[in-house]
């Protein structure tokens, strides 16, 4: 378990982290989600000991790790650009941490074989990183980090440098791996889809502050504020409120709480239909309807409709 207690970090005048407190439960896969420059990578590097916080504490497994250097924190760190040791073979890369720990050769060989098997790189022992694809390099880096049996696995935008197809495969693979290995993992990403798909818990970070922590579904359905809501999915602005486009209901007749709007375009996107409206004040609003809902309404451009939200959820102020 990792516990961050009011962590502060400055770079010159810039406050990269402002009193961030966060608990990462044992065995969980927690995503730190935020836009670039939000401080999420800095937070990960503080956990790793690669950056020293200016205030606050980092507690790993009940022990105050703040003064412990990165070398002795027992963490596994995976970098966005792999940080592969270019002059070493795959085998030597994965064995690095164990050789530093002066393990016996037979033990190292067994561990390397086991890990290369897990990351599906068996038979690649003698390759050099330059002979591997990006995805293979990142899996090698993951095996290298896991070799030392870390208490905590930290992944800094691990799939950020890979193309979309490989990224999707590796995401699913990482999730399965985590279910097998069960090491407490923190993943930094700016991609909400990646966070939703892979993580048990998401911590949303913005401008050096923690906005909200929770299960992906909770965050999506009960965002604490407009930032979290808009970062986790599409939003539409209805008067003074933010709503999800699929939580809007359109009727041909006026009803309580609904606003008057004019249909401008009806876009058929296969299963769903996007209805582009203009509110009375001229503000645009896109509504997502199912095909059945749309055909029941029989809306054509130029029609006047009434739009309001369906759900009995607390509104989020825009």
């Amino acid at each position: 378990m990792i516990y961050l207690d009011a962590v502060d970090k400055r770079f010159g005048d810039h406050r990269a982290l402002q009193s961030v407190s966060l608990e990462v439960p044992e065995g969980s896969l927690t995503a730190l989600l935020g836009p670039s420059g939000s401080g999420k990578s800095t937070l990960l590097r503080v956990i790793a000991g690669l950056e020293a916080p200016d205030g606050g504490r980092v507690i790993i497994d009940g022990e105050d790790a703040t003064p412990v250097p990165a070398q002795r924190r027992g963490i596994g760190f995976v970098f966005q650009h792999y940080a592969a040791f270019k002059h070493m073979t795959v085998r030597e890369n994965v064995a690095f941490g164990l050789r530093i720990r002066r393990r016996r050769k037979a033990q190292i060989d067994a561990k390397v074989d086991e890990l290369l098997d897990i990351v599906a790189l068996s038979g690649y022992h003698k390759r050099y990183p330059s002979q591997l694809s990006g995805g293979q390099r990142q899996r090698m880096a993951l095996a290298r980090a896991l070799a030392i049996e870390p208490r905590v696995l930290l992944l800094d935008e691990p799939f950020g440098a890979l193309d979309a197809k490989v990224r999707a495969d590796l995401r699913a693979w990482l999730r399965r791996l985590h279910d097998e290995v069960r090491v407490t993992t923190v993943l930094v990403t700016h991609d909400q889809e990646e966070a939703m798909e892979v993580a048990d818990r998401i911590a949303v970070i913005n401008e050096g502050r923690l906005e909200q922590v929770g299960a992906p579904r909770d965050l999506y359905e009960r965002p604490a504020n407009g930032f979290v809501m808009s970062f986790l999915g599409p939003v539409a602005r209805l008067g003074e409120e933010l709503v999800r486009p699929h939580d809007l209901r359109v009727t041909a007749e006026p009803r309580a709480g609904a606003l008057e709007a004019m249909a401008e375009r009806v876009v058929h996107l296969g299963f769903e239909v996007r209805l582009e409206l203009a509110l009375a004040d001229g503000a645009p609003l896109a509504v997502q309807l199912t095909r059945d809902e749309a055909s029941a309404l029989e809306i054509a451009p130029g029609d006047i409709v009434w739009v309001g939200h369906t759900a009995a959820r607390d509104p989020i102020a825009a």
Binding site: A48, G49, L50, P69, A70, Q71, R72, R73, I75, G76, F77, F79, H81, A83, A84, F85, K86, H87, T89, F96, G97, I100, R101, Y128, P129, S130, Q131, A141, R144, A145, A147, I148
Partner: protein
């Protein structure tokens, strides 16, 4: 097409006039009187002593400048104070030996370590002796290693070093296992340039050497000495040997280098 060919001819012609012809001529003149006399002239006691002295000085200067050059580059690129002192200032200082004339270097060493100098009271003799020549050589060949290593260090970045740290490697282990292998070609090239400069240095060494026969006469000084004494054949032979050592160093480098970086 013709323009490009013309440019190529011009470039090669320029190189030929400036480099190949003079050096070739030295080699030609060297062997004009026959190989026997060349052998005789480079195996005189004075020549042998100059040869070993030059190698000894080059070895010491290269060792010092390699260690200090790598250290300087590390401090400049990775050091904690890198944001406090403008790197351009230190890099400008590092280039000072390129800018200052070797004769001035020699004179300044005499002023500091010579009779009546600030550090004249040392228990061993510096000026007109080996330490003085080594100091002069170290000074003039100081920038090469650092100059070669700094850009390589910048380009490699520090992620591999951070990865090594998270895997438990101490700074010392990280340096030997990660940093040094990553910068090895920069270091090697720096060493070659330092060696070439150290072997060929004349001006600064000439001032501090005192030219004690058989003791402080280096190869370059021997060439000058023979030239002054109208022993042209001897001067050519010694020059050819100097050029040969330089060529051998470069060749060694080229032979080592082609192994494709993994």
């Amino acid at each position: 097409m013709t323009a490009r060919r013309g440019l190529r001819v011009a470039a090669l012609g320029y190189l030929a006039v400036l480099l190949v012809v003079p050096v070739g001529l030295v080699v030609y003149r060297t062997f004009e009187p026959g190989i026997g006399s060349v052998w005789d002239s480079i195996t005189t006691p004075a020549a042998i002593s100059a040869f070993w002295l030059t190698l000894e000085i080059a070895a010491i200067a290269v060792a010092i400048n390699t260690v200090m050059g790598v250290l300087t580059a590390l401090l400049l690129v990775r050091g904690r104070f890198r944001n406090r002192i403008p790197p351009t200032l230190i890099e400008a200082l590092l280039d000072l030996p390129f800018a200052v004339s070797p004769v001035v270097v020699g004179l300044s060493l005499v002023l500091v370590y010579g009779r009546g100098g600030w550090l004249a009271g040392l228990p061993f003799q510096v000026i007109f002796s080996l330490p003085g020549i080594v100091l002069a050589t170290v000074f003039v060949s100081l920038p090469f290693v650092a100059r070669e290593v700094i850009p390589v260090l910048r380009e490699v970045g520090d992620e591999q070093e951070q990865a090594a740290a998270t895997l438990g490697a101490s700074r010392w282990q990280t340096f030997w296992r990660i940093t040094l292998p990553a910068i090895r070609w920069g270091v090697a090239y720096g060493v070659v340039l330092t060696t070439a400069r150290a072997i060929g240095e004349f001006g600064a060494v000439s001032v501090v050497s005192g030219k004690v026969a058989g003791e402080t006469v280096t190869m370059t000084l021997l060439v000058e000495n023979r030239f002054q004494n109208f022993d042209l054949a001897g001067a050519y032979a010694a020059s050819a040997l100097l050029a040969l050592i330089a060529l051998a160093t470069l060749l060694l480098m080229t032979l080592l280098r082609p192994r494709k970086d993994a």
